[in-house]
Amino acid sequence: MSDQTIEMIIVRQEDPDSSSYEQKFSIPYRSNMNVISALMEIRRNPVDAEGNNTTPVAWDASCLEEVCGACSMVINGKPRQSCTALIDKLEQPIRLEPMNTFPVMRDLTVDRSRMFDSLKRVKAWVPIDGTHDLGPGPRMPEAKRQWAYELSKCMSCGVCLQACPNVNDKSDFIGPAALSQVRLFNAHPTGAMHKAERLETLMEGDGGIANCGNSQNCVEACPKEIPLTTSIAALNRATTLQSFKNFFGSDNTA
């Protein structure tokens, strides 16, 4: 269609143990491309900007409509989803880097286990399994459902962990995503039956809620505009009260 090209710089890495390097790509422009379709173009024709044959760039993607979070990477310095990163709206050369807060597996592919393990640790679900039918659960007030719905938009993409200065190789901080899920499931009428247990998980061991340093990058970076810092502050209050209950004594099971 035209001779226009898209200039890209991609930070690549062979495997988890090797060091990273930059590679330039120059790919033919088509209208309405996003970063994913640009990466697909490289996969179709894996040639770098100097014309040398190279390996296709590895990256993760699944839903292609910003609900799964798999294709998250650092694009021009900002962690975000590559499916909704439109080429026409990006400054060139477009710089792609892996979200290096997580262990890099290959090129732009990272291992986000750290976050998924945290979600398991805090029991980010409503336990309903049992030996008999428990019947319908309690109803949730509409006003609460409305703000809880905002928290439920989290797709575990990991952008908030990448943005957080306290989530890094030197710290075990659980990060904003899993914290906000604690608030979500503690707000649920059935989930609240495990409220104290979830709060205590955040207060035990290293890397709990107290590791938050209030840089508030998470709430700025979140692609779903989840009020993460409000969640963290609300949990700060909840853990304060829980610690008083635990120390001074009370019926602290919920």
């Binding site: 310095g77 900002k78 943005a163 200065p165 306290n166 890094n168 190789d169 030197k170 710290s171 955040l202 207060m203 035990e204 061991g205 290293d206 890397g207 709990g208 809620i209 107290a210 590791n211 938050c212 340093g213 209030n214 840089s215 508030q216 990058n217 700025e220 970076a221 009020p227 810092t229 409000t230 963290i232 502050a233 609300a234 949990l235 700060n236 209050r237 909840a238 853990t239 304060t240 009260l241 610690s243």
Partner: protein, 204 residues
């Protein structure tokens, strides 16, 4: 410093920064203001503070031990961060970074300040107007004091803001925004008091 008590240590760190260290800072700056009123008034105030009952108990329990814990644990916190203000140049991220930088400056400043005044007093020097006058007669020392005081008031004012978040007092973005304005006011007021007082020792 890996342990099962991180929550306790972090909350203690936050609490000690305000009570008693923050409270002590306000008392200290208030007493300093006597220098603005003149040499005699300052010496009388210093003598009054020196003559307070339970002085050593208060110094150790309300000042030395809390500051040592806050400083040591604070250093651990400061060096645990990987600052990223170049990528995320938001106001709060800068405050996060400045809080850590100012903390380190304050630690160096306080060590020097305690050495020159409190430890000097322990070795027999008399704490009075002329002691400070002699120290800040050196322009480098005066500049160091102005930087040190400003770092201290910043660290305290911004620390008040994060104290309110850490304990779950300010939860909504609105309340946190208002708390930011309050902390700016506290910073401006205390910095004025601190710098005005130190300038009194050079006759300004």
């Amino acid at each position: 410093m890996s342990s099962n008590r991180e929550f306790l240590y972090r909350r203690l760190h936050s609490l000690l920064g305000v009570i008693p260290i923050g409270a002590f800072l306000i008392v200290h700056l208030t007493v300093n203001w006597f220098a603005v009123r003149g040499r005699e008034e300052y010496n009388a105030a210093a003598a009054f503070m020196e003559a307070l009952p339970f002085r050593y108990a208060m110094e150790i329990g309300l000042i030395f031990l809390p500051i040592i814990f806050h400083a040591v644990y604070g250093l651990y916190i400061a060096f645990q961060a990987r600052n990223n203000t170049s990528q995320f140049g938001y106001f709060r991220n800068w405050m996060f970074r400045f809080q850590r930088i100012s903390g380190v400056i304050v630690l160096i400043f306080i060590t020097w300040h305690v050495w020159e005044t409190r430890l000097a007093a322990a070795f027999g020097a008399e704490v009075n107007f002329s002691m400070m006058e002699d120290i800040v007669a050196n322009p480098a020392a005066l500049i160091a004091y102005i930087i040190g005081i400003t770092a201290t008031t910043f660290h305290f004012a911004n620390g008040l803001w994060s104290f309110a978040v850490t304990w779950g007092i300010t939860v909504t973005p609105r309340s946190q925004q208002i708390a930011t304005y309050v902390s700016i006011g506290v910073f401006a007021a205390l910095t004025f008091v601190g710098i005005r007082s130190i300038l009194a020792f050079v006759g300004v």
